[in-house]
Amino acid sequence: MAGNKTYKIVLIESSPIIIQGIQELLRPHREFSFIAVVRKGKRYAETLRHLSPDLLLVNPQLLDSRQMQPTDPAEAPAVIALSYQYLHPEILQHYNTVIDINDDRETIVRKLQQALAIPQPAGETNESNELSVREKEILVSVAKGMINKEIAEQHHISVHTVITHRKNITRKTGIKSISGLTVFAILNNLIEMSEVE
């Protein structure tokens, strides 16, 4: 199933070295297809409207991250920052994750897959169906009835990241509804009954 889908990526970057480099690096991975390169952040909004990509790779210096608040979080693409030097955490909280200039191909691919919530082939990676510590924390917040925005604020992460975590939680557990997730959290002793009443 995962083998057939291609994920549309839009790259927002001005450096020819990076533009060519990252495309070259990901060439063997047919599931990722670069559908556009935007060299100026200002053109960003209109490009997105037309292309509906699954993922944005962004040089944060080209973009005012405040523009990035999606109108509909469910439809929003995953967003990854490209980092060449120190980036302020306040900027980074608008991104699902960060690709560092020193990351190797494997790491980059893994980060893309995680951001896109692509199911990992069983046994091939270290990531099992166990929820990560972070995912458990998010799950507890969901079970307590918090909305995405509150969860983002509490954990100092972006709404994008909360949504990605929630997609991963649902993929791993097979449970979608909030009350179902609450049952899961209680059965696994992640939370006390008294906290959800």
Binding site: T173, S177, S179, G180, T182, F184, I186, L187, M193
Partner: protein, 235 residues
């Protein structure tokens, strides 16, 4: 695409032999077992229902890709259709949902008390959503359809508002399956759990067919009626 598998002239017993799951819909048409060698037409006439609607429902329950032709879906089916859907609602609540609830609660009681409490609560939420959904159809949607069918002035409701409503209920039922399959502790109520799951899968399949009847008969029919209504013509 024309399906000629079931016809009004076929013996009802033979229909059941082709697809035994149709046993589930007989009571919703008021038909009880013991009909001997009567044909579909005879059994339907006794109950005052249209044989063509009964056959359509049988096809929808049997073939995934069956879509009735537009000219087969007619105004005269409205009463049978609404009666059928209402009977299905009460059937679900009184039979499979009640049985699943009972089994699920019995199994939940074997878990520790805090767990059993949240499991109870989850199921009650599901049931209440289901009841609300049915009530909404019976109190808002069906009366509206009757009005449109009778060419009475209807309020501003349109059938397109109806279509979205199902996803939450399906989602919860699916979550329920995963909870029972994966997350109740091992060794809890092995046999009972399997029986419960069969009932849940069966209910899910049945409700999916119910949704097909709504999507492929009810909604096209109402669209047709709404159009005719707008133009003040006969449909």
């Amino acid at each position: 695409m024309k399906y000629l598998v079931f016809t009004p002239e076929m013996k009802l017993a033979d229909v059941i032999h082709v697809n035994y799951k149709l046993l589930l819909i007989l009571p919703r048409f008021g038909i009880s077992l013991g009909f001997g060698d009567k044909t579909v037409r005879e059994c339907c006439t006794e109950q005052g229902i249209r044989p063509d609607f009964f056959v359509m429902a049988c096809h929808l329950y049997t073939f995934d890709d069956y879509i009735p032709a537009k000219d087969e879906i007619i105004r005269e089916m409205v009463d049978d259709l609404i009666r059928y859907l209402k009977h299905s609602h009460s059937y679900y609540l009184e039979n499979p949902v009640a049985a699943i609830r009972e089994q699920f609660h019995q199994i939940a009681l074997q878990s520790d008390p805090a767990h059993s409490k949240i499991l109870h609560r989850f199921f009650e939420e599901y049931k209440n959503e289901l009841i609300n959904h049915f009530r909404y159809e019976e109190e808002v949607v069906f009366p509206y359809i009757r009005k449109v069918a009778n060419r009475e002035e209807a309020d501003s409701y349109k059938i397109d508002m109806f279509e979205e409503n199902h996803s939450n209920i399906e989602e919860k039922l699916n979550d329920l399956k995963n909870i029972v399959i994966k997350y109740l502790p091992e060794k809890t109520a092995g046999t009972e759990r399997i029986r419960l799951l069969f009932d849940i899968f069966q209910l899910e399949e049945d409700v999916n067919r119910h949704t097909l009847i709504e999507n492929r008969v009810l909604i096209p029919l109402v669209h047709k009626l709404e159009k005719g209504h707008g133009r003040k013509q006969n449909v």
